[in-house]
Symmetry: C2
Subunit: 346 residues, 2 copies
């Protein structure tokens, strides 16, 4: 059962179970601090495909297939798939998931896509519209660079506020049934879908600044709706604000009397070692927060090493065309609360 | 309450009410057979904006705003918006709906987007995740041509199988509450989200052929799930298969013993007069079936002039990049059953 709490938070009485999750990443992501936690790492950025776009599709197909296998769910028993990515017309998802054969609802939330797909899939599972649903997303450094910025061969300089698009995919299987044989498991407890916030940032090399106000609004709304505060959580994981956006978010919240610093981290800061790896303000791309969630975070939650997590996916809703036409960059942030709880026995 | 019927159909016990709908179109659409039925028509393809992309955003903003006004729903009371379009990163929706201020879930289903957004919004409303939701989409001939095909100034020749992207937007407001004071109203009764079907069509100038097999699969699945047949409906509205895809769909279904010819029509065939208006195989674009639905079809349903309608939105899930890389074109078709029913009184 779904109950609306306050202005904009959905609370799930049962809570869809996270039956399985998986991540698939490239070499640079493997060399980062979370390298040992990913399900699959690729030395070859092309994954043996003929183009970067096809490689990204393979990343997504792999993450989906691994998550299904870990969940013990056959693809034939999926009632729906929620997926999206940064490529024009969300092509990485289409061609990565075409073989799955499941009812397909393409989503577009830019880098907030992992939170949006989990949130939407959760509503479907909790309401009985689906018994099992898949949420999946990806990004690829090379396909994103050439689509949004410059040919890679050009070797363009990047500004200090720029973020590095992760070559990564993450997938989560949600189920109405708890995992068999487990004493406890992770479930989705609440969701708060975000509104667009646009404070006029136009710099496409500073997405963190464009997205931070949306994350601030979603978090403040959630705390107001639920009466909870940052100390009620083991981790508030934004993704992907990077260094610039994370600082801005913490500052914006502090001005409203909300201090998240003790429990906040950001997917864009967790995926890479900024001292050792040349990623400027941190990681970004749909696959960045997805891969962080679908490795370290869900692993820690499932193992009981982490209290409830607020996963706040953040997206910059621009395109190359709108930026070239002088438009500002609206941000959006979707919030998903994940927590381990006992599985009813018998 | 949502009940799963058969393999892949969702049945709504209450059924979200269609509280309002609206369409906004360009000059060519106004000159077509449905011209008198649209809420707003624009002589100026630019709508006074600085670019075609901005013009498309204005079309979408206008359709949304008119639908809300006709429904008597304030934008502040919308619990969520489901929207998408053909532009890269779904930019027409983002910039058209930014001012709405409602929780925003971007969708991508190519030309099936109107059915996908209505379907997803219906699940949210029926489950209590939203009390009022908006489903909206658009397309614009000029923004689509230059993004997917050729510069307009080039005056490229079009093949006979090509379809004409409609300059149009449509919006539907769904509500858990029936319209006040009405004896009967239209509600969403069933939804069947489609699977991708790819029979290997590569010709981006023949989208009808790429999408027809998906429409066939979704319709056959729906009839199998429900035990219903074409004669149970006043209209089966596909959109947008055009002349080529419509012929293929009827032929594919006939091979399976399913004859829809007595009740079938297609948004791409209804929007323009193919003898008088030079649109080759018919109309297309997210806005085409959306505008047909949000004018003639919903109007006839509400007035009791039409039995239940199966609205089968069809999408060709390709991008310029995937076509240039030699990929085939997966199709998808989402089905929404709409029907008038008595409003419970008192």
């Amino acid at each position: 059962m779904i109950t609306r709490i306050g202005e904009n938070t959905l609370r799930f009485a049962r809570g869809p179970w996270v039956a399985g999750w998986a991540s698939s990443v490239g070499r640079k992501e493997k060399e980062g601090p979370l390298g040992a936690l990913f399900d699959q790492c690729h030395e070859d950025t092309m994954l043996g495909a003929d183009s970067w776009e096809q490689a990204e599709s393979r990343l997504q197909a792999e993450a989906a297939s691994l998550a299904l296998r870990k969940a013990g769910v056959e693809k034939e028993s999926l009632d729906c798939v929620f997926a999206g990515d940064l490529l024009n017309q969300c092509a990485a998802s289409v061609f990565g998931l075409r073989e799955l054969g499941a009812p397909y609802l393409g989503q577009y939330g830019a880098c907030s896509t992992m939170a949006q797909t989990i949130g939407a899939a959760s509503v479907f599972v909790e309401s009985g519209a689906a018994r099992r649903a898949l949420a999946v997303t990806s990004s690829h450094f090379c396909s994103a660079e050439r689509q949004f910025r410059l040919p890679l061969e050009y070797g363009g300089q990047r500004t200090p506020t720029a973020q590095w698009t992760a070559t990564a995919a993450g997938a989560v299987v949600l189920s109405a049934e708890p995992p068999a044989g487990a004493a406890s498991a992770v479930s989705v407890r609440e969701v708060s879908f975000g509104r667009m916030v646009d404070l006029g940032v136009k710099d496409a090399a500073n997405m963190g600044a464009a997205m931070a106000p949306a994350a601030c609004r979603t978090l403040l709304g959630y705390f107001a709706d639920t009466g909870l505060s940052p100390r009620d959580f083991g981790l508030i994981l934004t993704g992907d604000l990077g260094a610039v956006g994370s600082d801005l978010l913490r500052g914006l919240l502090l001005r409203e009397g909300c201090d998240i610093s003790a429990v906040h981290n950001d997917g864009g800061l967790m995926l890479y070692d900024r001292k050792r790896q040349d990623v400027h303000a941190g990681g970004s791309g749909c696959g960045c927060s997805a891969a962080v969630l679908c490795s370290a975070v869900l692993g820690d939650l499932a193992a009981g090493r982490l209290g409830d997590v607020l996963f706040v996916g953040t997206g910059a809703l621009m395109s190359l065309t709108t930026s070239q036409q002088g438009e500002t960059i609206p941000g959006v942030a979707h919030l998903v609360r994940l927590g381990a709880r006992s599985v009813p026995q018998g």
